[in-house]
Symmetry: C2
Subunit: 738 residues, 2 copies
Amino acid sequence: MNWQVGTMNHVNDIPDKFFEAVVPGAVQLDYMQAYKKAPFAFGTNVNDYRHLENRFWCYKTTFEKPNLNEGENLIFLSKGIDYEFDIILNDSLILHQEGMFTPVKLVLNEYLKELNTFKVVIYPIPIAKGQAEGRSQANLSVKPPVPYGWDWHPRLVPVGIWDETTIRIEPKTQISTFDFTYQLDNDLSQANINIQFNVANSNSNELSYSWSLYDANKKIIANEDGEVNKENTIISASINKPSLWWTHDHGTPYLYTTELQIKDTDGKIIDRKSRKVGFRKVELVMNAFSWDEPKVFPKSRSTAPFTLKINNRFVFVKGSNWVHPELFYGAITSERYLQQLILAKQCNMNMLRIWGGGITNKESFFDHCDSLGIMVWQEFPLACNNYPNDPHYLKILEQEAISIINKVKKHPSLAMWSGGNELFNSWSGMTEQSHALRLLNSLCYKYDRNTPYINTSPIYGVGHGHYLFYDPDTDEDVFQVMRRAKNTAYTEFGMPSLASVEVLKQVIPKEELFPVEPSEAWKIHGAFGAWKESSWLEIKTIEKYFGKAENLEELVWQSQTLQSIGYKAIFEEARRQKPKCSMALNWCFNEPWPNATNNNLITYPNITKPAFDAVAASLRPVTSSAAFKRFDWKAGETLEIDLWMLNDTYQTVLNGEIIVSITIDGVKTKIGNWNFEDLKENENLQGPTIRYSIPENTKMQLVKVSLEVVGKEAYNSDYLLLVNSRKNDTRKVNRLNF
Amino acid sequence: MNWQVGTMNHVNDIPDKFFEAVVPGAVQLDYMQAYKKAPFAFGTNVNDYRHLENRFWCYKTTFEKPNLNEGENLIFLSKGIDYEFDIILNDSLILHQEGMFTPVKLVLNEYLKELNTFKVVIYPIPIAKGQAEGRSQANLSVKPPVPYGWDWHPRLVPVGIWDETTIRIEPKTQISTFDFTYQLDNDLSQANINIQFNVANSNSNELSYSWSLYDANKKIIANEDGEVNKENTIISASINKPSLWWTHDHGTPYLYTTELQIKDTDGKIIDRKSRKVGFRKVELVMNAFSWDEPKVFPKSRSTAPFTLKINNRFVFVKGSNWVHPELFYGAITSERYLQQLILAKQCNMNMLRIWGGGITNKESFFDHCDSLGIMVWQEFPLACNNYPNDPHYLKILEQEAISIINKVKKHPSLAMWSGGNELFNSWSGMTEQSHALRLLNSLCYKYDRNTPYINTSPIYGVGHGHYLFYDPDTDEDVFQVMRRAKNTAYTEFGMPSLASVEVLKQVIPKEELFPVEPSEAWKIHGAFGAWKESSWLEIKTIEKYFGKAENLEELVWQSQTLQSIGYKAIFEEARRQKPKCSMALNWCFNEPWPNATNNNLITYPNITKPAFDAVAASLRPVTSSAAFKRFDWKAGETLEIDLWMLNDTYQTVLNGEIIVSITIDGVKTKIGNWNFEDLKENENLQGPTIRYSIPENTKMQLVKVSLEVVGKEAYNSDYLLLVNSRKNDTRKVNRLNF
């Protein structure tokens, strides 16, 4: 199917020129291709796309009238058109819709001529009147706000046909809905299954159905046959000892296949639908010790529950905040999702928070998460705005939310719904009273009540931040911040670093590469003014610890080293705070275009930063771990190393010995050990504090503290700390890596 | 209509004996009357009713077949039958229902014989299996938990026909629903009204309607005429500059009357319905300064909104927690409600929290609140329990909640919905994830979204407690507790005292009256073991300040004086914390039977305690106020008196002068003054701290600090403090009253 697209001033205009369109995709990508625009990710090129925001666009395809049998329809089918649009066949307006998440399915028969012109007219991007430039312009639409401009995303708002779209012949008699729900017994020994389906045009024939559930070896586990009702047909079944869906770190993400066949009286198969399903129970319960607070009168409430139980098991959640991996999300493919999700699994992550600033992903994303055993925390597309009690907005939100729920709820990887990002903080200004959130809670309760729902993140007890290695406002480094933090979960925390030199050369004009100054290109790519003026490069922090870099390559090493150290500090401290703390998700995993500086672990498109490996190490199911009071120490001071063994598995970890060493001036010295007992399932063990006097004459340098678990190399951990000499340092630091 | 009732072992038994029944009422009351039982409120008599819990009861009435015209039905109508019941006419089971808040309306025609026996069979009280004795036995039913036993309520669980009930002839063609909703413009200058009604049996005739809105002077403000639809009929109207419904302390609780008449083609009125309505806008918004927190990373959410805006005006909420005024709530009359609500208004209260442990009141309660200008915070009947995700429970809860919402939402006095009491604390164990609360939020959103909904009290930022004048655990008195409290609202706080000597003589056996010992009678009436072992008499606290009382009358004075001082301290401190604090509601206003000791302001049935007057003074719209660091001082110490003027009105309070005096040994001495500026609308003014050295040789005594506002006696305030001598006191304190 060939699509063309053109642009116009008014909804009823005809474009002067049509050019080739890639569907699914985005009109801006087609425009860029047609007009041979320079790559949008380079320099300040992104600004050249701003004038396209208030354009109308017309997709067009032509086709001859197909031969339709009596029992057939010609169907237009789209899983997503972004954002407001008309659908027109031969000058007949068939549909006007606002909302990119509600699929479109239209029967075209009655509009057909011999030669047909099919059009999708896309409206200008939605902009809430009276709002200042930026994300708040998205606060009256169910359009993800991130492309309106974010610290890691330039202002560039995609529109167009963004998900699978086709025109095809389909039988009139077909399975129109096919729901599969289940309830697990309290002890998970039985799954009670309920299947409901509808057959469109079922009046034309006496129909029978055959439903089967297959296991992963394609063996039939359950099956039912019967007559199709004119209305809803309901099937009940139950299976004993179902293999459960587990996250990859706790078991097998076991998937079954549910299949429905519809047959006519001759036994001929009229239609067939099948999909993968998994059995899992998910609950959001109180964190350990949370009911003990508050202790004194007047008493307020206890903190909100934030511990996930999967299949009756407390699971410590380790993961990241996911953002869509292409700025033009219409261009994301199943393979693109898969590449990054495999990396998330390699990083020992068992959950991704799909943050409300971005899109709800295409269905293949959830298929991969199901298969890989990665949980999904799905937010609705609300973030950092005050979405008002506006009747039109609430109507579109209801429509879009129902579509999102119906798409996602089928997937066993779904672990939690959330209304959106940071809505209960001053920069958003929403509350429990906001109708949008009461509506979303209502809809999730109505359609998927057995999956937890939260209004937003953070809720009471949960923490977002910090996003800096060192905060001059409180004079604390990341070790110090985390030692005083007492949250039930850390669902966002960041640690910025530069991209690799190779990536920087691809996005920053050569003459601006070094020394790094706050030019427009660096700013657009997140190095300056992204959050505070100093974000995200935070050059003063880098220089505070390491001194001035002599070249770009050195600066990249400094920046990436701090990121690795910082992320390791936060993730491990969060784990050590288990069971009071239940979750650690950093901001962020990936990015939609190549930023020069960002808090991500993976540079666009799929380049791991050194912090990726550091985090993967910190998130091993079993690991040794050391806690430090701060990052930088002075020669002559006594370094304190709090030893831990961490166990997030449900196996006992057998006793052993940790040897603690420190490497100074390239010389490794044993400074202590710990004979640790057996670790019980899902329990950490706190060991002794090793004290070591840093020699008075130590020069300024990075030193390495190593924990070696005798005979269990897989549990070893390394830490880098900074030692300052007793004299004024020249701030020239050795390069030492993990 | 004459009703009889009898008791039986099984649902299908016939009672051995029927005795007279009062309808509405409770079976236990009828039983008590029939068997001439001693008054249940005296001594330990209440225990004699325990064996009735697992009985079935049969109400019976007989009547001859009435002459019914073709257009008439014989109807059974009940506004409430408690709790599970069958309705049987001439041995035909017409209805089985669980739930006391869902009205019953049944057409009896088809079951009629010449002589008819109509029965209502009441089941035993609901008791959740496996639960320990007490309130948790109510955690699988929508039965208010308080009669299962509470600190101020004995175990005595009413059942029976508890609200208006009748059998009567009605026309078949009648108005079956008549809804009136409205939206006020942002500036409140216009009310857009929507009326929807249904007419039952409207097919039989061509019908017209006439709808009118009358103002308080019976003048027609709006009216519409038209044809009645077979289905829903919808009328729209709008009125300019509606007189708004205000609380009594902010304006007039203005009420209109909406009236609908249905006429046949001859213009004959077939049916007519009318009721009072009021226009008001109510919002729950963030408290002042709440968005400023949290300040440091990791950042959690800001506190939940808890400031009420009525008609775009911030209203400081002052009031109390209401409990139903009769243990046998079926016996409550409209007059009984009115007597107590007039007292609440006299106490300068503008809101009552209808706590989830008790019933949702009968409709006349809300009518009175509408007329008197008292806001209602209505909770659903959930309290201090973990109501589980049980399908049957949730089904009954949905049915009952819809009935409650439809009854209450019509009333302009309704200011807030709440899921129930203290559900997010350890002693309940519910969370945002509980299906019952997600359901209630959904239903309130669906049927009454413009009224605020909270899941429970306290929510984040709100405080419950303290309930003691002095807490030995923290060694703090009520002044000290409130000085460190920083809550957004104080929605429960208590201060116990003995009932009057006269009341005590009515409920405690004579020989147990004095000295007071923890006998069963005292315990059942709340003096011992009600909360802690010492509650609520707290005799050690009384003796700590006042020494041992010589007789009952002295003990009552001591206890009631501490209650007055304590309540005054809390209410005024909450007001001084405005606008950060927005609300102060004490626990509790009234009681359902005469307790010997309780936190109430009104002893059963309608006897005001001295604290009632003290609270009324503290809640005057404009008042002077003094803050103290603590209650007891030593001779020679410097007493500090922080001066304030408090203004909850939207009028400017003109400048003036406060003269501060202290009365010691009966001698009143001027110790300071304050020339205060004008107070702006709804703003308090903090004045100087007056310091006064208590003479070294002062004997132990209560002293009085008086604030006299020159020329404005109405703003004067008095405070009692305790001074201890420098030597060991004999703890014999003078009687000094406010």
